[in-house]
Symmetry: C2
Subunit: 347 residues, 2 copies
């Protein structure tokens, strides 16, 4: 085609013009044209962001057909799988179909890759939804997608099933950020510890807080208790609804005998859990909000409202080496690997 696009992808923004593709409302998903600094991907599977998938299931019901229709409808409207209510996306795996001639990248046509940039900025030409996996937020599709010059991706590892790699890579930001935040002897609370990022963060929190540290898991269902007990990473587990801040807080301090958390990791997939995180953190403690259902104002004003001096961090989906770190974490612990295999592997 002999045209170079903007490195950030602004050339694909239809509305509003001039914006970057993530905040934009609508992208040009015409994959019959490829700019010289783009990669064209033959998409195999989408991993919809957990907060987005939960919102869709909540809206249309846990029905494969209806979820598929909703996804088609969003992509039709926006040219990308960018949930207008949660604002979040997800990621995808596929095969490299073509590489713009100006790019010098470490993949070749035919290679299987996972995109590590959000679907919320990825032009997606979605032709058909072949299968919806209601229990793991994944969707098999017939589609093509575009990766911009500044887009990050990873070659899929060959030593684990695709669906497992996809599940791990989707939340790759969380474990490495947890490792950065947790120090030896810390008391760490993981909210939503039974989920995909929850188990990864629990494992990492235990590893980095060390033998003198303590990791407490807040889970929502009895199933999660069983799984976490089997995994054996956390010191204490309790069941609570994180949307009920005061009772979650009361249960937490009962477990810890009044001690508050040095670090709180929030990895739930539902809104209105900011106050639980804030109440359970100690003065000058740190809260890491990975949940895409986090509200900025609820966090900022919620902490102010009760005069709690905590550092609150926005969960950046990217960190240097995050993909290798997350995959390696799963490889290094056999129980963790088995858990992911059972939970997300193809049957």
């Amino acid at each position: 085609m002999d045209v170079r696009g903007d490195p950030f992808g602004r050339h694909r923004v239809i509305e509003p013009k001039g914006k970057l593709p993530q905040p934009a409302w609508k992208l040009d998903n015409d994959t019959s044209k490829l700019y010289d600094n783009e990669i064209l991907i033959d998409v195999i599977r989408l991993n919809i962001d957990a907060a987005s998938f939960a919102q869709i299931k909540h809206e249309v019901g846990a029905d494969e057909q209806k979820v598929a229709e909703k996804i088609m409808q969003i992509v039709e409207q926006r040219g990308k799988m960018h949930n207008p209510i949660t604002g979040s996306g997800g990621m995808l795996i596929g095969r490299v179909k073509a590489i713009g001639k100006d790019l010098n990248v470490d993949v070749k046509v035919g290679d299987k890759i996972a995109t590590l940039v959000s679907l919320s900025l990825t032009p997606l030409n979605l032709k058909k939804i072949k299968k919806v996996y209601l229990d793991r937020d994944q969707v098999d599709v017939e589609a093509e997608a575009i990766l911009f010059e500044t887009g990050v991706f990873a070659r899929l590892p060959e030593d684990m099933p695709e669906s497992v790699a996809l599940a791990v890579l989707d939340v790759a930001g969380a474990p490495i950020q947890t490792a950065r935040l947790v120090s030896p002897s810390d008391l760490v609370l993981v909210i939503g510890a039974g989920g995909k990022s929850g188990v990864l963060c629990s494992y990492v929190a235990k590893k980095y807080s060390g033998p003198t540290g303590r990791v407490v898991a807040l889970v929502h269902s009895e199933r999660s208790i069983e799984q976490l007990k089997k995994l054996g990473f956390v010191d204490d587990i309790f069941v609570s609804d994180a949307q009920d801040a005061v009772s979650s807080y009361e249960k937490f301090i009962e477990v810890t005998n009044g001690r508050l958390a040095d670090v709180v990791i929030n990895v739930v997939n539902v809104p209105d859990t900011e106050m639980t995180s804030i109440l359970c953190a100690r003065e000058r403690g740190k809260i890491y909000f990975f949940s895409m259902a986090t509200s900025f104002t609820k966090a900022a004003l919620g902490a102010e409202g009760i005069g709690k001096d905590v550092d609150m961090i926005i969960g950046n989906g990217y960190a240097k080496h995050h993909a290798e770190f997350a995959l390696q974490i799963v490889r290094e612990n056999e129980k963790l690997y088995q858990h992911f295999l059972e939970r997300y592997g193809e049957k």
Copy 2:
């Protein structure tokens, strides 16, 4: 009345029941009853949060009467001045009218205080709006408000006009957090440097980055340039629209000769400025989002979208000693004090 309320104020939540007052939709603002652990305030003036005030002016026009009507309408609906669109509040000054008998606080009836918890969680019985100050987000009212047991407040200082103290205290979280984040020799970018928190943060950034540091101001209007030049705290100033990320970034690196910021302080009052902050920060730099118009997902996914490994912090409105710190900053620098006097003092 002989009834003790919940320390966090849940007893005043009408909808949804059981929630904390900040995230709640509607509060009970009946000030004819006072719980034994509440303070009743005779309100003199509201300081509406800048993002909220800008949104209201944008919606109804810069018209005193219309802004007043909109504020009345919001308080009528919610029992608190909690802007449903921006999610933010503001703060107030008033005189202590009654103190619940269970409270042991360092004020007495008649004392003038400023609340340091957001209006978004403060039950407000708003009888009348007497005057709207369109140019400084303040409103004179006839009203009563309730402060909960965990609510934070400050006695008004006697050495400066009320309107100045109110302006400084409204953004008291920003200067002390800037001081925590900035280290000697840092390159600091302040986005929205001409505003209330902008000038305070610029001063603090210069003080803490020291003689080998560099503070760059992004401002929106020529007026701000003049004021900042007169103040003399910043090393460089440039005009840009922070909603236009790529051109703001290009202007910034032209000023710094390609160097990116170690710390970015975002203190604008409009949405869609996340990407400017992210583009201008260096790898592993820090971004402090004080703006209440910040979107959590736009920040998290925006950074991921361009593979930028930055630490993004949610601007907590509270920090230990934040009020004393902010007032002292204004006292210690004569130019800063004069600026606040001219800009926010009564004429």
